[in-house]
């Protein structure tokens, strides 16, 4: 292929296959067992450990690390799976720098936390490779539960319900299970088809029937489900994306970042993906960073993230921002998009500079142009389902307690509900807790 990083236009094959493969390999290399034992030895086995408190699924971190220290890796994995059946994925995608590792006392002591995420991956990978299951399904209760959405929230909920002996049917609108683990997470965080393998492994507990191609509001309906099933859990995620609502957003090569990433995650050959020479990403969250970094890794010559507020207000953590800049992405702050300009295809975007004042974010009137041949919009996702039986809080489903919705017999968790950060691990925690609550209400 003759295309290079500097070839103009939105093109495939800017980099040779070998380079692209290298770019998209594991962000953090898995630990070898020697590295794991050195890392594990740093843990102090804290009392009422702050890392546990900081983990949304409350994994007993000092215990599993001690189990690694004593070379009982399977026991360590079980400690993790007890709280978080997607402990393998979480070990890869959790922003540990704002969760457990931020709270680790060795972060306070030396600015170098115990590498909890990588140790978790070491234990869970080792266990999953053996093909074993950490838990057995209890005797069947005969209760039937519908779980809508096969993302982290739905999967965690279904697994916990199956453990308690209930029969679960998972419905998902897509052709593949996994939710954003499969379609959203940056490719270098979940390599080697890990998301799909994890789902397959998790379903081996039995009692879970996965039904793909069923969309709530289309070919399945909540009022029917509540009649057919003893309980219903909604783990719908945020299916829709927010629109930019500026003129020119319909120009060619302007698209939604989540869709770009989803295409990337499903591509058999990454070099077949088309990417611009000058890519511009509008937004400030994890999705913006992931779209920007992955564009760069595909071979874009320049990639700019434009965010309307200041950097410290970005949804992406400092660590994520550094990941972007270390990959050559330029982050520009205080730029509010005004118009997308182009003749058929996008050629540049006009911004207005903003500044933070006592009245909030105020435009300064100064116009800034950024040339771009490809624009990704990453300004947040929104709930795509509108069920009149449910009560909403803002644009999310309103829940109380362990995910109880306003509708009797219906629970919800994950990104689609109010409360908690939109993270894989939070979705797992909410799915698991809802399952326990469902179990209690059915068997209690």
């Amino acid at each position: 292929m003759s295309n290079t990083v500097s070839s103009p236009g939105v093109l495939s094959g800017r980099l040779p296959v070998s380079k692209v493969n290298e770019n998209f390999s594991d962000l953090h290399e898995p630990f070898r067992s020697h590295e794991a034992s050195v890392a594990a030895d740093r843990c102090y086995f804290c009392y009422d450990a702050p890392c546990i408190t900081a983990c949304p699924t409350a994994i007993d971190i000092p215990l599993f690390i001690r189990q690694i220290q004593t070379n009982t890796i399977d026991a360590a994995a079980k400690t993790i799976f007890e709280q978080n059946i997607l402990g393998g994925m979480c070990a890869r995608v959790c922003p540990t720098e704002t969760l457990c590792e931020e709270a680790c006392v060795r972060e306070a002591a030396e600015g170098k936390p115990v590498e909890i995420g990588r140790l978790q991956r070491f234990a869970t990978d080792s266990f999953m490779k053996s093909g074993a299951q950490p838990f057995l399904r209890e005797a069947s209760t005969g209760k039937k539960i519908a779980v809508i959405g096969a993302g982290p929230a739905g999967l965690a909920c279904a697994h916990r319900l199956a453990m308690h002996g209930h029969d679960v049917i998972i419905y998902d609108a897509k052709e593949k299970a996994g939710g954003l683990n499969e379609f959203g997470i940056a490719a270098y965080k979940s390599t080697d088809e890990f998301a799909a393998k994890e789902v397959e492994w998790l379903l081996e507990i039995g009692g879970i029937d996965l039904q793909l191609g069923f969309e709530l509001g289309k070919n399945i309906h909540l009022n029917e489900l509540v009649k057919q099933f003893d309980s219903v859990f909604l783990g719908l995620g945020l299916g829709a994306v927010n629109n930019l609502k500026v003129s020119g957003d319909d120009l060619e090569n302007v698209s939604d970042a989540v869709q770009f990433i989803s295409g990337l995650r499903q591509a058999d050959d990454l070099t077949s993906l088309r990417v611009g020479r000058e890519v511009l990403v509008i937004g400030g969250g994890m999705t913006a960073v992931d779209a920007a970094v992955q564009s760069k890794l595909l071979g874009a010559e320049t990639v700019t993230i434009a965010y309307r507020r200041s950097k410290d207000k970005m949804g992406a953590s400092t660590y994520e921002q550094e990941l972007a800049t270390s990959n050559g992405v330029v982050i520009r702050e205080n730029l509010k998009p005004k118009t997308i300009i182009g003749n058929g295809k996008v050629s540049s975007v006009e911004f207005e500079r903003t500044k933070q004042t006592s009245e909030g974010l105020t435009p300064t009137g100064e116009a800034i142009m950024i040339t771009a041949d490809q624009v990704f919009v990453a300004i947040g996702q929104a709930l795509s389902v509108n069920e009149e039986r449910l009560e909403f809080a803002g644009n999310k489903i309103n829940v109380s307690g362990s995910g109880r919705t306003s509708c009797n017999g219906v629970w919800a968790g994950g990104d689609c509900v109010s409360g908690g950060e939109d993270l894989t691990v939070t979705a797992v925690a909410q799915g698991r807790d809802a399952a326990e609550d469902i179990n209690l209400s059915l068997m209690g």
Binding site: V38, C46, Y47, V105
Partner: protein, 434 residues
Amino acid sequence: MANLASEFLGIKSPNPFWLASAPPTDKEYNVRRAFEAGWGGVVWKTLGEDGPPIVNVNGPRYGALYGADRRLLGLNNIELITDRPLDLNLQEIKAVKRDYPDRAMIVSIMVPCEEGAWKSILPKVEETGADGIELNFGCPHGMSERGMGAAVGQVPKYIEMVSRWCKQNTRMPVIVKLTPNITDIRYPARAALKGGADAVSLINTIASIISVNLDTMSPEPSIDGKGSHGGYCGPAVKPIALNMVAQIGNDVETGGLPISGIGGITNWRDAAEYMSLGCGNVQVCTAAMTYGFKIVEEMKSGMSDWMDEKGYNSVSDFIGSALPNVTEWQHLNLNYVAKAKIDQDSCIKCGRCYAACEDTSHQAISINDERVFEVINEECVACNLCVDVCPVENCITMEQMKPGELDTRTGKIVLDEYANWTTHPNNSGACVID
């Protein structure tokens, strides 16, 4: 820079750091390199009597005890005395001593408990020009089964007898190396003194099983599925050895007997501690076997800097300085009252102090919602456990209470005068002083 020169039984060496009789000193090649690296002296690996050489096992002979990050804390071995011919060793000793006249060359010997055996080997050793001999009465494994090593060292009258034979048959200074595998170290030390020995060195290794392989159910190191007890050494044995050194130093009979300190010495600080308890010099084995000969550089610079800081000009200025402060429990001041204090700025909130005190001590540390850990003076008995388990050095300190202050735990005012158990009202045997 402080002068590290040392003189022990009239034997001079540029510093007090000797290598103990063990693999590091088993041959000319090693000893030359040790001297080049800066060691002050060596005790040559123990020689046996002339004849067919000793045989060693042909499988693993060491086992280890680890701390975090596989830091070697203890080493165990089932090695015997030198397995090289006597003549070869003697030739090499002579050659090395000739080339390094300023270094101490001591030869360790272990022959059967018969006067003839000693009479025959001593002149040969003397002929090498060695500075002295060390009698290996310590080896707890293998040789002891043949009536040598610890088998002699555990019977004071044998020690006395062999010491006497040696003194009668050589003009070289005689050091008796003691085994710690006895109930009271003072008995063998007294016996050595009675026999006329010039000094004792201690400790040799401690009889031990370092670990068991749970797959094969064999002790380690395992030879074809079986293991034998070995000799334990390294950092973990230092506290045992220090106590024995102090016991000999404070004994009415053996007080003043020169001691060469051995056991777990790994850095200058360990060496200085041994010397402060009365050792004229120290010997090192495991630390050299773990890190190589180069560690002596740190030992030299560390001791020398510390001596400068304290104003000691020569090692004799501090040798034995801590000995008078080793006393019996009954003489400890019971009016000394301290309380633990946590420095909130250096606390990293791990909660180890809390777990230790709450679960296993005196419930004297509080925790609040912000994970602030504080000592409850009303409960603190000053046991020091929290200090010992805290991962941050000097984060928890023991603060002495001043006379006149109220100890809220006992409700009593802290007194100025010294008072110990011998006069304590709860001691039924106390003699009340009018």
